[in-house]
């Protein structure tokens, strides 16, 4: 392939050699290092290819061997150019093409990001846009080192960045910190925990502060559970001072939740009639052009668009979207649940609700929900016994002692 290209650019001719001592001619060519290829015997003569340069040194060999040589075909770029020498636009076009290529290679046409897993491409692209790094910008405007530093600064979890320009591509290679970052503990000021629910305390584990309830106690909403003050006792065992901290504890409270859900037995169902019309659409710079070829005559219909944004390179999206457009007709039909259907629906929604509660870490102890169906509506009602975490952080209410001290100071 490469050799053929080389032969084409240098140019070659196909010659026909006639005469009796053609072997001598061939051997002399070999001796003078004239390369021959595609030798073929045809009509008592020999045809072969050789380069232009070889052909120019052929004259003495032809004379010596007593053969006759005729060119039967000319191939290659030099002949092509000679044939089209009169065409002025051709070299202009070639020159223009080369210049255009040189000009266009001064821009960034592709931005490739690699190594990111937690941070999506979109997030990084948004950051790049903020930094005015976009597709189609001048290559010389990019300071790779500075950009790498900016990326490191902007994303804490990216620990290593390499930015380089390869041709017209901007390659950004990042390495993310795969070690799980420790959850930063929020530093609360001195604060108390109060109950946000009515119920019975099941379990209380205090990490800091002074608990004021114990397991088995009944608590009301708003009642303090853990105070953010710790007594400091003196040698006599009396309270000398208080240390104020952020109360912290795991408190589990048994409580009941009253579940109540009602829905009408009548409902409206959307049913597709199966009739639909198809078309294509085009969005250019936010402007929509639909080529549907039909006036929509449906009373009620859904329009489904499925678009594909055009792009030049991997991540260089053009502001042009093309896609399919579908218009599906539907009818609204009023229906009534049967008793079984209503019960099933109520059960399903209850199960969904319970599952959601469990997702939040709530333990379900007992479920006394009953489902009743009437003519007009269906009701699911009852109490659910649960154990859940309780405790709401409030700013420390000034204790009695503190007030006293303030008064004393005054």
């Amino acid at each position: 392939m490469v050799q053929q290209l080389l032969q084409y650019t240098k140019g070659y001719v196909r010659i026909r050699v006639t005469g009796s001592s053609y072997e001598r001619f061939l051997n002399m060519c070999a001796k003078h290092q004239i390369e021959l290829w595609d030798l073929l015997e045809a009509h008592n003569a020999y045809e072969m290819n050789l380069s232009i340069r070889g052909f120019k040194t052929l004259r003495p060999l032809v004379k010596k061997s007593g053969t006759k040589v005729r060119i039967i075909e000319r191939y290659g770029l030099p002949f092509f150019l000679h044939r089209h020498r009169g065409r002025k636009a051709l070299p202009c076009g070639v020159l223009f093409g080369v210049l255009l290529m040189m000009f266009l290679s001064g821009f960034i046409w592709d931005i490739h990001i690699e190594g990111n897993q937690a941070r999506t491409d979109d997030v990084i692209f948004d950051f790049l846009t903020e930094q005015r790094i976009t597709h189609g910008m001048w290559k010389s405007r990019i300071d790779c080192k500075a950009l790498a530093a900016e990326i490191r600064k902007a994303f804490d979890d990216i620990i290593w960045v390499s930015v380089k320009i390869q041709g017209t591509r901007l390659l950004i290679d990042v390495k993310e910190n795969t070690d799980l970052a420790l959850e930063e503990e929020v530093d609360y000021g001195p604060s108390d925990l109060i109950s946000d629910v009515d119920g019975v305390v099941q379990e209380i584990i205090t990490r800091s502060g002074t608990p004021v309830v114990k397991a088995g106690d009944t608590v009301k909403k708003g009642q303090p559970l853990v105070l953010g003050q710790v007594e400091i006792l003196d040698d006599a065992g009396e309270v000398a001072d208080y240390q104020y901290v952020a109360a912290d504890a795991d408190i589990y409270v048994k409580t009941t939740y009253s579940y109540n859900e009602t829905f009408s037995m009548k409902y409206i169902k959307k049913e597709y009639t199966g009739r639909m019309k198809k078309g294509v659409f085009l969005t250019v710079f936010g402007k929509n052009f639909a080529f549907t070829g039909w006036p929509v005559s449906y009373e009620a219909s859904d329009v489904v668009k499925e678009g594909h944004q055009l792009r030049v390179t991997e991540n260089f999206y053009l502001p042009v979207t093309v896609g399919k457009i579908e218009c599906r007709e539907y009818e609204l039909i009023e229906k009534t649940y049967s008793k079984e259907e209503a019960v099933r629906k109520a059960k399903e929604s209850l199960a969904k609700f319970l599952w959601k509660m469990q997702e939040k870490g709530v333990q379900i102890l007992q479920n006394n929900v009953k489902i009743e169906t009437g003519v007009k509506s269906c009701t699911a009602r009852g109490e659910i016994e649960i154990t859940r975490r309780a405790g709401k952080r409030v700013e420390r209410t000034l204790g009695v002692d503190a007030e006293e001290r303030i008064q004393a100071n005054e």
Binding site: A30, L36, W37, L39, L40
Partner: protein, 91 residues
Amino acid sequence: MSSKSKSLYRKISAAAQIPKDLSDGAVLVTATGQEELCIENYRGIIEYTDSRLMLQTKNCRLEVLGKNLFISYYTGEEMKVTGHIEQINYL
């Protein structure tokens, strides 16, 4: 070279493990299947038609018989013959 010095030369070159194509100028024929033949170390072409190719080498003549013989390329060092090869004879 007399036959005595020739045999000495051969012994030395064999001991030095010089390939025969270098020390003796032996012809090197590489056949790939029945369709392709690569030949090195020859002196020149004696005869070439589409059914017969005769080459002169240093020590002997090489005859290739076949059908539609076609020389893909031919230089001073190497040549490649394609076509349907039936016989390779050393004469």
